[in-house]
């Protein structure tokens, strides 16, 4: 009851107020007109087409307003909080690169001690999550804090200028895994973080993609309702680091899912509970060819390129098999990934 009152107060304070009768309507942008809680405000300094900024906005819309955020060092922190400005409409703290889960643990302990239900969120990139903050994350999950941890996975250290992380896919080039006469990009595999998270047997863990915003937001809402640790990894393309056009963020993200390289799955207590099926898997090269970080794999006469392409295709096929992502073929009602949706329903879908 107390919480409902509190939420009503917050909505009153931060929600849009209707104009009084007779008062001139101030023009609003379509974005402002959206009846959503804006936890992450526009006007921040992210690059054009930033997948992480989009993902964070979607997460905040579903999570807010009675939340507080612990944010690891990284692009999200830097582009949202250049002093004295801030793009956050929720209490937000950044401490260090590797301690967001521990800072969030302390915030959650404080809420418990004070008998408050404000949900604590922790945000990190793949560097802060897969690598340097990994120990703190494991501790947070093991201690069963009531925290939703969101990893915005753009598969390299983008904030420092595109260096490889343990989340960088095999064969991708970064500034510390360049391709050359002796190397074909990153030599190692992308760390299977979700399996490690699963081993903590937390109530809920899932992967999501900015290409599927409804799915992402449903997962955030589901996690918000759980009392205990929950984990979400969101595939968030970085146009600068992946070297694709800023307008292609969603397309690139969608192809990563549709080829099987980034499986969209849900785990409850560590067991696979749901997957997003791929009705018609696309070849991995459809995904690779959009991105400069894989351009060395698209050289027609290089046998090493063919070998690495096969390697990545095998990894995608493996994901489709182990997670059971294979759909039952093309559904005429399925308009996903179509360049346009024809009027008139399923019959028109055949044209694409």
């Amino acid at each position: 009851m107390q919480d409902e009152q509190r939420l009503a107060e917050l909505r009153q304070k931060f929600g849009r107020q209707p104009a009084a009768p007779g008062e001139a309507q101030t023009p609003v942008t379509p974005r402002e007109a959206q009846p959503r809680f804006r936890g992450l405000e526009s006007g921040h300094r992210a690059c054009q087409g930033c997948g992480e900024a989009l993902a964070a906005r979607l997460v905040m819309e579903s999570a807010g307003p009675d939340v507080m955020v612990a944010n690891a060092t990284g692009c999200l922190e830097v582009f949202t909080t250049p002093w004295p400005q801030s793009a956050w409409r929720v209490p937000w703290i950044h401490s260090l690169f590797e301690n967001a889960p521990a800072v969030a643990s302390g915030m959650e302990a404080a809420m418990k001690a004070k008998g408050r239900n404000t949900k604590v969120l922790a945000f990190g990139g793949d560097g802060g999550t897969y690598d340097i903050g990994f120990q703190a994350l494991s501790g947070m999950l093991e201690r069963y804090h009531n925290i939703l941890y969101v990893c915005y996975d753009n598969e390299a250290y983008m904030n420092t200028g595109i260096q490889r992380s343990s989340s960088t896919p095999h064969a991708a080039t970064t500034t510390t895994s360049p391709a050359g006469k002796e190397r074909m990009g990153k030599r190692h595999l992308k760390k299977d973080l979700l399996s490690i998270i699963a081993a903590h047997h937390i109530p809920y863990a899932a992967s999501a993609s900015v290409a599927y915003p409804q799915d992402l937001q449903r997962k955030v809402r589901y996690a918000m309702g759980i009392e205990g640790p929950t984990f979400l990894v969101v595939h968030s393309p970085c146009p600068l680091g992946w070297r694709h056009g800023s307008a292609l963020t969603i397309e690139v993200a969608r192809r990563a899912v549709d080829c099987g390289l980034f499986p969209i799955v849900e785990l409850e207590r560590g067991a696979l509970s749901n997957v997003m099926p791929i009705r018609q898997p696309r070849p991995v090269s459809d995904y690779l060819q959009l991105q400069g970080r894989f351009s060395h794999l698209m050289k027609p006469d290089d046998p090493r390129a063919a070998e690495e392409r096969d390697h990545l295709q095998a990894l995608a096929d493996y994901n489709i098999e182990v997670f059971g992502l294979g759909g039952d073929g093309r559904d005429p009602a399925d308009t996903a990934a179509q360049s346009y949706v024809g009027r008139g329903g399923p019959a028109a879908a055949g044209r694409n």
Binding site: W92, V103, S105, K114
Partner: protein, 391 residues
């Protein structure tokens, strides 16, 4: 109530009296008894707090950071390697000016591995921007711990209470444990002006460009200097409430007319006091200066305390290899422009738990008579234990 308590047990009881909302720690010798006793108080229902047993000191410091930022009274304790593992977070806590309290059970830093006492750990984070107070005995450690919560709140700065590992933490002493109601009157409920609150959202820990960084460092320094008076005021208030004092920033005892002074921090003060009582007749009298506040540094108080001295022996329980004593160097710096400043004899003593006997008083007093003595020495070193090329 007066009772015989082990130092760590007394600290745990003192912390419990302050009713922290969140306690987080990771075990390390010689801090373990503190967190064990706190855990026991929680298990018995005598302390209602969120006790977060973390997977590293790094996370312990991060947890109390987050807790205090979210408006909770928070406490942690560590030592030695733990202090160093926390180092990045300690600078961050202070830089964000987050009020919380940490006990450091002072212990040497590896390598070589040593679990015994010296001040190498807290000295390593000297410039982190924390208030650092040193306790000379367990009663002072108890009183300073409680005062630290009030100082942290009043200054919005983190406070580190340093107590010598084993020498204090593992020693039974008769402690006058304050009454809970009196502590409730002394220590107001926790409040932090910039706390995270969905009703009034603030952004903490932002990216700061060169346009603002110097101003923020300046204001931190300024807040530390202003904390000097908060430390003395809090100790006076403590005296008013409990009839005893920890000595504010520093205390002067011994022979007021003596021409020789000795400055020390922590339990060494007690050893020197006893040594002086036993051998002042033969070795000569001294003015004993017990330094309680190391950060902020009590420059003015120290200048006053050494007025009229010919010699000042400065005891360091740590070393800055390649320079010498840390406290000695700092005292030399603050006395540099004082006319007729005493000659400084800086010695490192008791490193890595080396016993400091009462006879050290007479030895130190004798050493000032050597006109060729170096400005700094590891006083109790036995060069015969080293190969000639290592001496």
């Amino acid at each position: 109530m007066r009772e015989a308590l082990e130092g760590s047990q007394a600290i745990a009881r003192a912390v419990a009296l302050c009713k922290p909302d969140v306690v987080s720690a990771y075990p390390i010798t010689p801090q373990t008894h503190i967190v064990e006793n706190l855990s026991k108080l929680v298990a018995e229902g005598d302390l209602h707090t969120e006790f977060v047993s973390v997977e590293s000191e790094f996370s312990a410091a991060s947890v109390v950071l987050g807790a205090a930022a979210a408006g909770a009274r928070a406490y942690t304790a560590t030592a030695s390697q733990g202090v160093l593992l926390m180092a990045e977070v300690l600078f961050n806590i202070a830089g964000m000016r987050i009020p919380l309290v940490m006990t450091v059970a002072n212990r040497a830093v590896s390598a070589p591995l040593s679990i015994w006492n010296d001040h190498g750990d807290s000295m390593a984070v000297r410039d982190s921007g924390w208030i650092q107070l040193h306790a000379a005995d367990n009663q002072e450690a108890v009183d300073t711990t409680i005062q630290a919560f009030r100082i942290a709140q009043d200054t919005e700065l983190p406070v580190m209470v340093c107590m010598d590992g084993f020498i204090l933490t593992h020693t039974m002493e008769v402690i006058d444990m304050p009454d809970a109601a009196a502590i409730d009157a002394f220590l107001p409920p926790f409040a932090f002006s910039r706390q995270l609150d969905p009703g009034d959202p603030k952004t903490l820990g932002t990216l700061v460009s060169p346009d603002f960084f110097a101003e923020i460092r300046h204001s931190h320094h300024s807040a530390m200097v202003q904390a000097l008076s908060v430390i003395t005021d809090t100790d006076s208030a403590w005296h008013d409430a409990f009839g005893r004092s920890c000595g504010g920033l520093l205390t002067v005892e011994g022979d007021e007319t003596a021409r020789v002074g000795i400055v020390a921090m922590g339990s060494t003060v007690g050893t020197l006091r006893t040594g002086m009582a036993h051998s002042a007749a033969e070795a000569g009298p001294a003015r004993l200066i017990k330094l309680r506040a190391f950060r902020p540094f009590p420059t003015d108080a120290l200048r006053k305390a050494v007025a009229g001295l010919d010699h000042l022996i400065v005891i360091d329980r740590a070393i800055s290899p390649g320079l010498g004593g840390i406290l000695g160097t700092e005292i030399a710096a603050v006395l540099a422009d004082v006319p007729d400043a005493p000659r400084i004899h800086n010695h490192a003593l008791g490193l890595g738990g080396r016993d400091i006997p009462e006879t050290i008083y007479a030895d130190l007093m004798a050493a000032i008579k050597d006109p060729d003595a170096p400005a700094f020495s590891v006083f109790d070193v036995d060069l015969n234990k080293l190969a000639p090329e290592d001496r």
